[in-house]
Amino acid sequence: MLNLIKMNLYRMTHAVSTWVLAIVAVLYGLMQFGIMKIIMDDPFNIMEGMSEAMGLSEATAASVFTSIIRSSDFLIIAAIFIVLFSNAEQKCGFDKNIIGITKNKWKHTLARWISAVIGMTGLVVLAGGVALGASALFLNAFTAGSATMFLKSLGLSYVGLLAFSAVFFFFTTLFRSAAGGIVPSLIISLGILYLIENLMDLLVKKLISNPAVLPTDFFLDSQVMNFDFSSGTKACVILCVLCAGYIVAALGGSMLLQQKRDVK
């Protein structure tokens, strides 16, 4: 298993797409910083009210970092990375060299996802690190903020990102193509699914007065993207359980597909 992860990391570092997306992540971090600087410093008083509207009432380490991880733009970068990386082995047929000679084929899937998560974490560190570093250096309103809040928001955002990565990974495994993986992943990242979920909520509310639960309560994007980090422990645990459920289901499905399906 460890060897398979090492192999995946080796090929990751030799893939052009990895480096291109690393550059994109850095540029995205800078862009986010630029937007924050304009909003927070607001030298021309034209952004009044914008900071509150965008949830950037304060420029702490937690708010800067989570504004990166939880943005749909970064989710698109992550989706592209996950899909390209997890599909590359099959696209060039390299999987034929190794899958046949190993006993438990599902290990390949698990190792590929773990490696993809390591790569995605690298992109998070790059984008978040650049935005955080630039904010600390050049943003007048920046404060370190609470360390507990930083760890809490960062941890929960990261768990959400892990769940998204497992879902994107599953679609790529299911459709065995980059296109098949990227289309549903973008539907989620761009918020198209979120619109559908809200329509479903409206429908349920029309049918049932005061429903105990709504469809959005079970959708990953609704729960992760709209989570309030000042929520209590119970809400945090519910979010973690939901993410863990998605990870187990998506990864389990991917591993089962790998084990049962023939290699093309």
Partner: protein
Amino acid sequence: MDYILTTTELTKTYGKYNAANEVSIHVVRGGIYGLIGRNGAGKTTLMKMIGGLSHPSSGSFEIRGRNGETTEQMMPKVGILIEAPGLYPNMTAIQNLKTKAIALGIHDDKFLYGLLEEVGLSNTGKKKAKQFSLGMKQRLGIAMALVNKPELLILDEPINGLDPQGIAEMRDILHHLCNDKGITILISSHILDELSKVATQYGIIHEGKLLEEETKEELFSKCSERLELKTNDISRTLAVLNSMGFSKLEVKDDAISIYERLNEGGAITVALAKENIQTNEIAVKSEALEDYYFQLTGGKDNA
């Protein structure tokens, strides 16, 4: 016979279509087994099942006498090159080899460079796989299959699309791997002439079914020139032929095939007449490998 691989009624079904239909082959250790068949005959399907890339619908196979669950323990001793070689186009030859080696826990660069030398790719340097010719890619594909030091090498159409020089180089590589390294090779092709230059055993597959399985000698004896003799008494005819010093004989159905001294048909007829044996037919016959194949598979219309 020491078989490294045997399959027992191996079958792969896609819906109602049998891509491989109860195929039973017996691959002798240390030889080159040529799987002959036209495109779509079921060669790749069979090889994918043996190579662990595809699940058999029914039937089983044994590698070094191990079957069922224990077959999987033998899979690391199998090298596979199925269809096009699986290479990362943006990596060099050595980087591609290293990728597989890392997955297998092999950290011996000297061994990997040795593999490149064996397949004639030691001077490719920083050239990326996407810049390789088809022949180079095929040779790198073989090197990839050798990374896990296999005892059985499965090569699916490795000479397909190669120019004459590429084919000759591939032939040399196969002979080297089999004769010098003792690797058993299962190779498929629809180019009969080329396969006949390397294989020591043959399996002829058509529409998913194995039609014949023969050694090189058996196949070539069917395809070489011979005197075919039909008489009214086979056993006495054999005695006469033995007394005349003929030893390369084969009796099949009601005919005797003689593989030597083909110009002595007249003398044989006279000798038989003296013993009151009636000669019904005597003629020199020959069959090209290709004709034999067409005869088995139902004619040229099927090719």
